[in-house]
């Protein structure tokens, strides 16, 4: 019987390709098209296009792979509020980690140029609309689907960590908080069997970042006040409580389980994942060297 879902090897190869092309492409295009427009190129061309092309060329069902399925209104509403509340927690983790690196290793300032109104709009729309759609299609759609073929119950955890590790391109301090975000997003899709919930959740998290991140950082300063600890933990607890209220949807792939289960993870898949990890870690090391004023 012909395989209907991507393999882990395909998922890891796609992940490696995305990690390389996003970094290299940004070095080339960002100075030409600007910071905001470059985000669109990343999302549309490197993140969205490849999984859609593979699925179409393989004649797989986009609805099944990417889980383009409706879910209950309740699940969508929960996604809205839990996305906002979790942001406070992951932003808190991000501040803790970046403060640690700033104090123990050295400061690192990303060279973000002043943006025109158009570039700012590119950035905001790219962050709040495009990234949630494109990244969810790649990660919770293609990659998580592949990992669930072998690790049905915790494929979303692996995908979440992979998703977080790609964000080393935005800075080391993003890896752990975005991995946490990725795991929550993956669980939503696993539980509801619909990518709409993770798209909504992701959009709300990014929107919160656009709206609150600057103001909150200015308010908090370098010594974190007690209210900020409480707010962040409350954000996590609210998200967990809301997740408890999620309505589980019947899985569309349950009756075809025999088709999708991979017996073992191939050597090629492992090698691709290791190469990706080494490559991304080396980019992280560049940041560390920059913090240490070595480069």
């Amino acid at each position: 019987m012909k395989r209907q879902y991507p393999t882990i090897t395909q998922a890891n190869a796609l992940f490696f390709f995305t990690a390389v092309i996003t970094f290299v492409g940004s070095i080339f295009f960002q100075p030409i098209v600007g910071f905001g427009a470059n985000l669109w190129i990343n999302e549309f061309i490197y993140i969205l296009l490849p999984p859609i092309l593979i699925v179409r060329l393989s004649k797989w069902s986009e609805e099944d792979i990417f889980r383009f399925k409706k879910t209950s209104v309740r699940n969508n509403i929960i996604s809205v509020f839990s996305g906002i509340s979790l942001w406070f927690f992951i932003n808190y983790i991000n501040i803790l980690i970046s403060s640690f690196f700033d104090k123990q290793v050295g400061t690192f300032l990303l060279d973000i140029p002043d943006m025109s109104i158009q570039q700012s709009l590119f950035y905001v729309i790219g962050t709040v609309v495009l990234a949630p759609i494109c990244e969810e299609i790649l990660f919770r759609g293609f990659i998580q689907r592949a990992y669930e073929g072998r690790f049905k119950k915790y494929g979303f955890v692996i995908t979440g960590v992979i998703f977080g590790y790609l964000h080393i391109l935005n800075g080391i301090s993003d890896v752990i908080p975005v991995s946490i975000l990725g795991i929550f997003l993956g669980y939503l899709v696993y539980k509801t069997d619909s990518i709409s919930t993770s798209m909504i959740f992701h959009a709300m998290t990014n929107l919160s970042s656009v709206l609150f991140a600057g103001a909150l950082r200015a308010k908090v300063g370098s010594s974190i006040p007690l209210w900020f600890h409480i707010l962040s933990i409350a954000g996590l607890l609210i998200t967990l409580i809301l997740f408890k209220c999620l309505k589980a949807e019947p899985k569309s792939d349950e009756d075809t389980e025999a088709v999708v289960i991979e017996k073992r993870v191939s050597v090629a898949a492992v090698i691709l994942l290791v190469i990706s990890a080494v490559y991304l870690t080396s980019i992280g090391l560049l940041e560390v060297l920059s913090r240490l004023d070595v480069i």
């Binding site: 609805e63 990417f66 383009f68 609309v129 759609i133 990518i195 200015a218 300063g221 370098s222 004023d293």
Partner: protein, 260 residues
């Protein structure tokens, strides 16, 4: 759901197209952003090659602060040279050089000079290439007492802050080697206008006094090449700001004053 997702993506694509078009239209209109209050000289780089060609000379009737602002839409290397009849306070000589590449919109090269009365001139070295170079300049006369105060600092009497400024750090850096040494932390609970004056008497070695905030960094506020940073006003948002010193083989003192 698939239809909805693809519809959003297509609509977003059209919005992006609109943004690209409007950005190109506004970009073409004016890529130079010389601040208001500056006199402006526009040089067409395509007419001929220049080698230390005099662009303009100005006669100052009293000691003055002269702010120079440069932008260009051409990527080739260009050199602006500023030469004064008299010594420039805080500098090693009466000459300064500003390398210029492509700087448009919010990118620019700028420098501030403390001239005594007399003439100063601006020269350009550039190859013949498409594009323009814009030089903005603003002259602000200094009161004689202010100029004398800065002259004292220039001669090494660093403990001469402007009125209202308090000393937050002073040290003799001779024989000292610092790498990102935290020398003072400024904590603000609310947005505030802050004045900063930093002076050094160091004429050699590597020295850089930096101000690092949570979202920005001012590097090289003073150095052996530019020993006076006087009354730099900035509005800072709440948070922590660190004054850090890098130095090696320096031979002088550094003083940091703040007005809150």
């Amino acid at each position: 759901m698939k239809k909805t997702v693809y519809s959003i993506l297509i609509i977003t694509l059209f919005i992006g197209l609109g943004l690209i078009i409007t950005e190109q239209l506004t970009k073409d209109r004016n890529v130079f952003k010389v601040p208001s209050g500056y006199h402006k000289e526009i040089i067409d780089l395509s007419d001929h090659t220049r080698s230390d060609e005099l662009l303009f000379s100005r006669e100052l009737e009293s000691p003055s602060t002269v702010e120079i602002f440069v932008q260009s839409d051409n990527d080739s290397d260009k050199i602006i040279k500023i030469i004064s009849d008299s010594a420039i306070l805080g500098r090693k000589s009466n000459e300064d050089v500003l390398p210029v590449k492509k700087y448009t919109d919010n990118q620019y090269v700028s420098s501030t000079y403390l001239f005594n009365k007399g003439e100063y001139s601006v020269y350009l070295t550039s190859e013949c290439a498409d594009g323009k170079l814009v030089i903005g300049y603003r002259e602000t006369p200094k009161e004689l007492t202010e100029y004398e105060r800065l002259s004292k600092i220039d001669k090494g009497e660093l403990n001469n802050p402007p009125e209202g400024y308090s000393l937050v750090y002073s040290a003799d850096l001779s024989g000292v080697s610092y790498n990102d040494e935290l020398v003072h932390t400024l904590s603000l609970n609310e947005s505030k206008k802050i004045g900063i004056s930093i002076y050094t008497s160091s004429m050699q070695g590597n020295l850089s006094v930096n101000l690092i905030g949570e979202s920005f960094g001012y590097y090289g506020l003073v150095s052996p090449e530019q020993r006076i940073c006087d009354q730099l006003d900035m509005v800072l948002s709440p948070g922590e700001y660190q004054f850090k010193v890098d130095c090696e083989d320096t031979d002088g003192q550094v003083y940091i004053f703040i007005k809150q």
